[in-house]
């Protein structure tokens, strides 16, 4: 291989055999790039674009879901508020009813207590009356003695005297019962 410098003999725009060498050299470079290098650059590039596209899609999806969840949350909040108001209302009504019930019960109780008291009083009074009536015999004897002592002359007078005595006793009983109740 000769290796020396020459001045160009002719026009420097005229090619020589180097043209063929250059053509083949570039063709080889082109083929290697097309066959081995470009696909390995394009592959990851596409893959990354795909990843980015998917991530953006995911992000959109997440945004949509978030909005949805917020919507649901708000709806639930409104519902809960309504429910709370309802419960409060219900509780108030319940309380009112309970109070009324209790008041009615109390009144009933009161009436019952009063009635029982009256009943008791009546029973006691009857007992006393009965007791007094049994004592009437003794009293009558005492009275007879008194009458005899007075030397009764008139039957009518005697009857009047007995009646007025009994009436006096009864009046005393009623007065006693009234002061007890």
């Amino acid at each position: 291989m000769a290796h020396h410098t020459e001045l160009a003999a002719g026009n420097f725009l005229v090619p020589n055999a180097t043209f063929i060498a250059e053509f083949i050299a570039f063709l080889l470079i082109l083929l290697i790039i097309a066959r081995y290098i470009l696909p390995r650059v394009e592959g990851p590039l596409r893959e990354r674009q795909e990843i980015i596209r998917k991530q953006m899609e995911d992000s959109d999806e997440a945004k949509r879901k978030l909005a949805e969840a917020e919507e649901k949350y708000k709806a639930a909040l409104v519902e809960a508020r309504e429910e709370a108001a309802q419960i409060r209302e219900h509780a108030r009504a319940e309380a009112q009813r309970t109070i009324e019930e209790l008041r009615a019960q109390a009144l009933e109780e009161q009436a019952r207590i009063i009635a029982r008291g009256e009943e008791q009083l009546a029973t006691q009074r009857n007992a006393i009356v009965r007791e007094l009536r049994t004592e009437i015999g003794t009293l009558a004897v005492e009275l007879s003695e008194k009458i005899i002592d007075q030397r009764l002359s008139d039957d009518a007078q005697v009857r009047a005297t007995v009646d007025s005595f009994i009436a006096g006793l009864e009046a005393q009983d009623i007065a006693q019962a009234g002061s007890q109740s």
Partner: protein
């Protein structure tokens, strides 16, 4: 060394020649092509080895940026499904030309440089243009038929038919010479700066090489973009869209 000597040293078309089997090859161009191609493939295989969707390396992201840009351009001009092979073609062109052009920054201290940017030799730029435009014609004819593919050249207004034909012929010429001219001019600039006194040459040298790296990027970008745009002619014609 006088300035005159340096000026002679940057004579256009000067190359390290290899004589192989009776043909003359520009050894410097081939060397730098192999270096640039090697770097591109090395980076490519580094990406390939560690490529992952979740933990991309910086290099992988750089490659992905190129691929994404190319795919978007192809999609916008013709639709990827029309010509899916344009994507690797434009990607390979961009990466290879870009790395090639960056070789302009690295000096080897030999004259001519052992590894000049290969695009400063028309052999490379012609080869790239022939590959691109040739593929375009072949694919166009196969997709739309001879009449269908070249039909748009002969439409009304008839006055423009010669211009249409010249434009078609000029496509590979402009494509290759634009790249060649820009990069070749860069090497001439470096040679001119090198002719300055050593005390001051470092400043313009730094500035120029930064700018040259930028030009290298732009030219790689333009070449790839034009490739995509030219290939849009193989796409099914939209009524009234082609002229």
């Amino acid at each position: 060394m006088s300035n005159t000597t340096v000026a002679i040293n940057i004579t256009p078309g000067e190359h390290i020649h290899w004589h192989l089997f009776g043909v003359t090859l520009n050894g410097d161009t081939i060397t730098s092509t192999l270096i640039a191609g090697g770097i591109v493939l090395l980076l490519g295989f580094l990406v390939r080895r560690k490529a992952s969707a979740r933990e991309p390396t910086k290099l992988q992201l750089a490659f992905e940026a190129v691929v994404q840009y190319v795919e978007k351009q192809v999609e916008d001009t013709m639709g990827i499904k029309t010509a899916p092979f344009v994507v690797p073609l434009a990607m390979a062109l961009f990466l290879f030309i870009f790395i090639s052009n960056l070789l302009a920054i690295v000096p080897t201290g030999h004259h001519p440089e052992y590894a000049p940017p290969p695009a400063s030799d028309v052999n490379l730029t012609y080869a790239l243009a022939v590959l691109v435009i040739g593929t375009m014609h072949v694919v166009g004819i196969r997709k739309k038929g001879l009449r269908g593919y070249y039909g748009h050249l002969f439409r009304k207004p008839y006055l423009l038919i010669p211009l249409n034909i010249i434009e078609e012929i000029m496509k590979p010429v402009t494509l290759s010479l634009r790249l060649f001219g820009n990069i070749f001019a860069g090497t001439i600039m470096v040679a001119l700066i090198a002719a300055m006194p050593a005390v001051i040459l470092w400043l313009p040298d730094i500035l120029w090489k930064l700018f040259d790296a930028f030009i290298g990027l732009i030219q790689a970008f333009i070449f790839a973009l034009l490739t995509i745009i030219y290939f849009s002619s193989v796409a099914p014609a939209k009524e009234g869209a082609s002229h």
